[in-house]
Amino acid sequence: MKTRTGLAFLAPALILFGVFVLYPMLTAFSYAFYEWQGTSRQGFAGLSNFSALVNRAPFKTDLPRALLHNVLFFLGTMLVQNTIGLTVATLLHRRARTRRMLQTLYAMPYLVSPIVIGYLWTLLLSPTFGPVNQLLTKIGLEQFALPWLGDPKTALWVVILVSVWQWVGFPVLLYGAALGGVPEELTEAARVDGASHGQVFRRITFPLLVPAIGTVSVLTFIFAMEAFALPFAFGGSTGNPAGSTDFVSLLFYRSAFDSGAVDAIGTSSALATVLFLIIFGGAMAATKVLRRHERRMAS
């Protein structure tokens, strides 16, 4: 009786989840195992769509490159965004009066759509009319007035840094909340014992922040692997220039919707499945490690 009542209460949510999440997901998976002629489904294809991702152009060359960019995006974001985020959150934690206002200010850019941010920065960094290069030239730093988005050496890093600029408020908020949860008696006791600021941070605050860092890392991983809107706004669906800002989602987009290949649905669904497995697998593995760490801390 109890289970039945419980199920009745769960049913609306489960039905919504089933219809809008589970069903489309499973059908998308199933597409990857069929042959396609435009939008009409043909015979069972086994794993041939998956092997096309490894053996056939353009996937053979574009997929490893795009995946590498996703990984670099993740590592870059982790390193820069989290370091800045943690530093800012720690500094803000000590400023009781202005903390709220500054947190809001740091979080402002992520209220704007990434597409808008991308176009805005494209204008700012334009080598012909962009104010960034004009300013650099005016103050005598002409050697740094580079074609930021026109050179494969800098383009990917511009995408990463702009993304960091946009999202840095997010770790600031999360770390801010986590810092609020660090028991004051611990830090106070350490201070009484003569620990310096640095020592308190290293030995007490940081270990207690590990769960929050883990959460941010997993979310950053998912975010980086799914990156689409910002790279699209910067480099279009082909990852201009010369594929230097290409990401897996962009490759999916152009093979699904922009290609003249009649079997596009099969191969692009296979690509979506692979991307899902990478994200899901990565997130699950990281969560497992995190839980083990938490259990160790609790005991």
Partner: protein, 433 residues
């Protein structure tokens, strides 16, 4: 956050992330043969298009059709261009698609044809006397049948600022390659960017290649040879045509791979650049950005060493209209599409939509439009990588765009770019001797 809620949150986020990708795919093929409607009394035909900006023009055109066809109402429904492919694929796969969809051309329409979503029009629509290159946009390469009626011809050529030319001592549009480069040098000396190219956007580069160097690889003659397998993209003439970019790079804006096509258009309309290689579809944008500009167009003369010393106007067809195979009003839809192949419709496209109609014999009020149409009529050549090399992935245009960027960045030579194009298209292209 407790470990449990954290775990659930992460799982949910991971799920929804992929849902975003997965949900983009269309539903599987369900047969929903038409029912109802089409009994001759009152018929409403829906036309889907990606030309939001042309809605008023199309309403006017279809008013004229309605006036002559009693009981027929044509509803024009435009969608955002960037989302149109997805919307149309879903519409045609289901039962609530349009009667007459605007479809892509050449290779881009092949997936729609392969879905059996369109009615073959052979024997129903007569396109005899039309430009072969234009008709091919409506045909399937897989079965050779006709599936749509082409709407417009797009031509690519050099736009130029006549008064800026005069100001720098260039009285006429160049007619020889030497004149062309001399004009570039004069403009460069006058601190004007000679040719506004936006190489950050790779899609524009195959167009620029056609504008600057179509005669260098041989245009239509090369098309025949490469399609039959007599030659390939590694042909010395094709390599030399890519190398034209190296020769002309000094006339492009500085840091050209960082310049977006909108920046290039702005340079041109702000009169900081004298030439802009673009399509007939760019004319409206250029005029709107600076209505006072003294705009002219010319065919870039054949580069030195070209197989034939004759300038050409490359072009292709697009904006085709077709009949949805699931339309319950197939006959009425066919009638409308048939009308779209008449001179009456073509003339209205020229006058209202302000594009070069695909229908032969249409006249143009706008002098520039007339000049572009006449040039194509006199010396046509196919925009080869679009008309014949977009039937698979990687497409010829994608390979050229990326390759020219690499060439301009100095990471590849023209020969390497040509070899990449050749190897890329050969993964799906089979010549037909």
């Amino acid at each position: 956050m407790t470990p449990r809620t954290l775990r659930s949150t992460l799982t949910l986020i991971a799920f929804t992330g992929v849902l975003a990708v997965g949900a983009c795919a269309p539903s599987s093929d369900t047969d929903t043969s038409g029912s109802g409607g089409g009994d001759g009394k009152e018929t409403t035909l829906t036309v889907w298009s990606w030309r939001v900006e042309d809605e008023a023009a199309y309403n006017k055109i279809f008013d004229a059709y309605e006036a002559k066809h009693e009981g027929v109402t044509v509803e024009f429904k435009p969608f955002k261009a960037t989302e149109y492919n997805k919307i149309l694929a879903t519409g045609l796969a289901g039962s609530d698609g349009p009667d007459v969809p605007q479809v892509r051309s050449y290779g881009q329409v092949e997936p729609t044809i392969a879905s059996k979503s369109l009615v073959p029009l052979d024997g129903k629509v007569d396109l005899s006397g039309w430009d072969e290159n234009v008709v091919n946009s409506a045909k399937s390469k897989a079965d050779g049948k006709l599936y749509s009626v082409p709407l417009a011809r797009q031509t690519v050529q050099m736009f130029y600022n006549k008064s800026l030319f005069k100001k720098h001592g260039i009285d006429e549009a160049p007619t020889t390659w030497a004149d062309f480069t001399a004009a570039g040098d004069k403009l460069l000396a006058g601190d004007v960017t000679p040719i506004a190219v936006g190489a950050k956007d790779d899609w524009t580069l195959p167009i620029v290649h056609e504008v600057l160097a179509a005669p260098r690889f041989g245009g239509a003659a090369f098309q025949k040879e490469v399609l039959s397998g007599q030659t390939s993209f590694t042909d010395p003439d094709f390599v030399a045509s890519i190398d034209v970019f190296t020769q002309l790079a000094k006339y492009f804006p500085k840091n050209v791979t960082g310049v977006a096509v909108t920046d290039a258009q702005t340079l041109f309309s702000a009169e900081k650049a004298a030439m802009f290689p673009g399509g007939s579809f760019d004319m409206a944008v250029l005029k709107k950005a600076n209505p006072g500009i003294d705009l002219g167009v010319f065919e870039v003369p054949a580069p030195t060493g070209s197989p034939e010393d004759k300038a050409t106007t490359p072009g292709w067809a697009d904006g085709n209209f077709a009949v949805n195979a699931k339309s319950p009003q197939r006959e009425a839809a066919l009638e409308l599409v048939k009308w779209m192949s008449t001179k009456e419709f073509g003339q209205m496209v020229a006058d209202e939509v302000k594009q070069i109609s695909a229908v032969p014999g249409v006249t143009y009020n706008d002098p520039l439009l007339r000049q572009m149409a006449d040039s194509y009529e006199k010396s046509p050549s196919p925009y080869l990588l679009l008309t014949d090399f977009r039937y698979g992935s990687p497409s010829g245009t994608d390979l050229m765009g990326k390759g020219v960027q690499q060439l301009l960045l100095g990471s590849k030579t023209a020969a390497q770019v040509a070899a990449d194009i050749d190897a890329g298209v050969k993964t799906w292209f089979k010549p037909t001797p």
